[in-house]
């Protein structure tokens, strides 16, 4: 789960990281008031789950409260990479002597948390990695020992030759690692970490992703989810326990298993169609989930055909068949449905579908081809 900059800064602040003050506004007036309270020059920053906010015009300096309000009125409602800006963060503008990058990710290759730091801050770290890899220092944190003090110092001293700054930075590393573990982050980034002309470190921008699987242990962080930042269909899907990603095509897909769901989408494309979504109904499915899934797919006006691809394992085919039949009773399903079912309790499922007037395929290629054809001719 991605969270907003102002939320990430709250987590960082809790861990002791020096973060400038700041407040969130949802109206231009509020933004102006906050700027007035803060005094001096402020920055008005769009809060959206997307990079490149600056280039898109979502980050503006304002010398007065009036100017802040003016900027906010332009930024609020703006679209950045398809996402509408609903909130802005108003925070004091800082004088910057130098900018650095500090980030931690879960690294799959080394099966651990991995620090990446660079004295070249404020820009995209992937770009630095490709153009000037020597400007990045990586450090794997052994989960058995955590971040050790000398390691924090090594990272700090890679950013700043000056011992005093290196020690301050080492402390920030420890605090960031603390925030990273406490909040089960999959990614936590300070970019840039600045040095002020007075020689103080400050985290000016913050980016954090939280491991969805850990949210059950983190009730406060779970409230950070911004329902306005995602399509309503994804919110509904999550609440129904479905794994769903909205796409732009016209073939609605309902599959069990993430790998098979991706392969089904790929096959839709292979046969010249376009998938309308990724949807995994999960392992231990029950008929209610299938009803929810069908409802979400049907709500998408683009969908011209619905394709079920079920390979029963944990998932019982009869559960899915019952769900389909139940859904057709409860909701008005406009597009045609084609079904492929095989595996656990396949016979029972075919019986149920037959009674309800559905037929079913056993080959994945056949059912996908059929769905693409139906969508194209709709």
């Amino acid at each position: 789960m991605d969270i907003h900059e102002y939320q990430a800064k709250e987590l960082f602040r809790n861990a002791g990281i020096p973060v400038p003050p700041g407040e969130v506004a949802t109206t231009p007036e509020e933004a102006g008031e906050i700027a007035g309270r803060l005094g001096g020059t402020v920055v008005v920053k769009a809060q959206v789950h997307a990079g490149g906010r600056g280039k898109a015009g979502g980050v503006k300096l304002a010398a007065s409260a009036a100017e802040a309000q003016e900027h906010a009125s332009r930024i609020l409602g703006m679209e950045i990479k398809g996402l509408t800006v609903e909130k802005v963060l108003v925070t004091p503008a800082e004088d910057i002597a130098s900018e650095a990058y500090v980030g931690i990710v879960i690294d799959r290759a080394t099966q651990a948390a991995l620090f990446m730091v660079s004295p070249e801050g404020g820009i995209d770290i992937e770009e630095v990695a490709s153009t000037n890899p020597d400007a990045i220092r990586k450090l794997r944190v052994d989960p058995r020992y955590g971040l050790l003090p000398h390691q924090a110092y090594l990272l700090g001293s890679f950013l700043y030759p000056d011992v005093k700054l290196a020690r301050q930075a080492a402390k920030v590393m420890e605090q960031l690692y603390d925030a990273f573990t406490t909040n089960h982050c999959s990614m936590a980034e300070i970019n840039p970490l600045i040095v002020t002309p007075e020689g103080e470190l400050k985290a000016i921008d913050a980016k954090v992703s939280i491991d969805d699987s850990a949210l059950f242990q983190l009730p406060e962080v779970a409230t950070f989810r911004d329902l306005e930042a995602e399509p309503e269909s994804e919110t509904q899907a999550r609440e129904a326990g479905l794994s769903f990603v909205k796409l732009d095509g016209n073939v609605g897909c309902c599959v069990n298993g993430a790998g098979l769901a991706m392969a089904t989408m790929d096959l839709v494309k292979y046969y010249g169609g376009d998938p309308a979504n990724f949807l995994d109904i999960g392992g231990s499915s029950n008929p209610d989930k299938v009803v929810s899934a069908l409802k979400i797919i049907t709500d998408d006006p683009n969908v011209k055909a619905i394709l079920f691809n079920i390979f029963g394992g944990i998932t019982r085919c009869d559960d899915v068949a019952n769900g389909i039949v139940e859904a057709t009773k409860r909701i008005d399903i406009r597009p045609p449905i084609v079904i492929r079912l095989t595996g656990t309790n396949e016979e029972e499922a075919l019986e149920i579908l037959k009674e309800a007037g559905f037929s079913a395929y056993t080959s994945m290629d056949e059912v996908v081809e059929k769905a693409v054809e139906l969508a194209a001719s709709a």
Partner: protein, 295 residues
């Protein structure tokens, strides 16, 4: 032959009395797997009646299952909040092989758990995986037995049902399997492609390999380079997620394209560059395998 599990496997089921655990214990016993014990804390002393009337003793701890029933492998169906602890318990109790089926274990819990398992010298498969099956010998996990048949092909996959699809394609084409292994879709997993490929390489009965990857990470790329250096049997690869958008998690916690890395296109390119035949759709797995087997 087979890899990781065979006739000598003595399995303990952690979470045997839960919904999934009990269902799949029946399935595993029915398939012929030697399930010697179950563990559900607080239900020690009871027993689990499998289909066919076999009574499986239930213990409070894996240690007891090992001590009293000689369990040497474990399969884990406990809920995510307790699953990392269950893995550690099994590793500490001295089983040699653990398959963790549970989906949704917090990733940072797995980093510590993986370190523990590695320190203990235990092989962990998963988590968030379907387990594995050595057709005709044993199955540990949830792969449906009826879609498999014994034969010369090793199957390894990051996915669950997509693995079934691939195995189903093989079986329908009359091509059997030595072992089918689902390594799981999480970012941190105990056994990666190379571990399984290496085991297949050491198995004289495995004559060809099907390898099913997906978007996210670089495990497939590293495996491909390893295949080129170390294997001289044919390998066919498939990558799911060719149409997945970047930055979105596609179900599996590990199935996400980060920045420009981990795309299906990139992985397929690396497969081809390293002599792995790329199947564009699951059905295309069959013919290069049949060819590779000299069929």
């Amino acid at each position: 032959m087979s890899i990781f599990i065979d006739d000598s496997t003595r399995l303990v089921v952690q979470g045997i009395t839960g919904r999934d655990g009990s269902f799949h214990t029946h399935q595993m016993v029915a398939y012929g797997t030697n399930v010697v014990a179950g563990v559900t804390p607080g239900k020690g002393g009871q027993s689990f009646e499998a289909e066919g009337g076999k009574r499986i003793p239930i213990f409070n701890t894996v240690e007891e299952a090992v001590r009293k029933e000689g369990a040497n492998a474990s399969v884990i169906y406990v809920p995510p909040a307790f699953a990392a602890g269950a893995i550690v318990e099994a590793a500490d109790a001295g089983v040699a092989f653990i398959a963790a089926i549970t989906e949704g274990i917090p990733v940072q819990d797995m980093t510590r758990t993986y370190a523990f398992v590695k320190d203990a010298g235990v092989r962990l498969l998963g988590p968030n995986c379907p387990g594995l099956i050595s057709p005709g010998k044993a199955k540990v996990g949830i792969i449906p037995g009826q879609i498999t048949m014994p034969g010369p092909v090793g199957v390894v996959s990051r996915s669950g049902t997509l693995t079934y699809e691939a195995v189903f394609q093989l079986t329908r084409a009359g091509i059997g399997q030595t072992t089918c292994v689902g390594i799981g879709g999480d970012p941190i997993i105990g056994t990666n492609f190379i571990d399984v490929l290496s085991a297949f390489g050491d198995d004289p009965e495995t004559e060809a390999i099907v390898m099913i990857g997906e978007i996210g990470g670089t495990d497939e790329q590293e495996a491909a380079a390893w295949v080129r250096e170390n294997l001289d049997i044919p390998v066919v690869g498939f990558i799911a997620g060719q149409t997945a958008p970047p930055g979105r998690r596609m179900g599996h916690a590990g199935a996400i394209i980060s920045g420009s890395a981990g795309t299906a296109e990139e992985k397929m390119k690396v497969f081809e560059a390293n002599g792995i035949a790329v199947a564009r759709r699951p059905a295309d797995i069959r013919s290069p395998i049949a060819e590779g087997l000299g069929g």
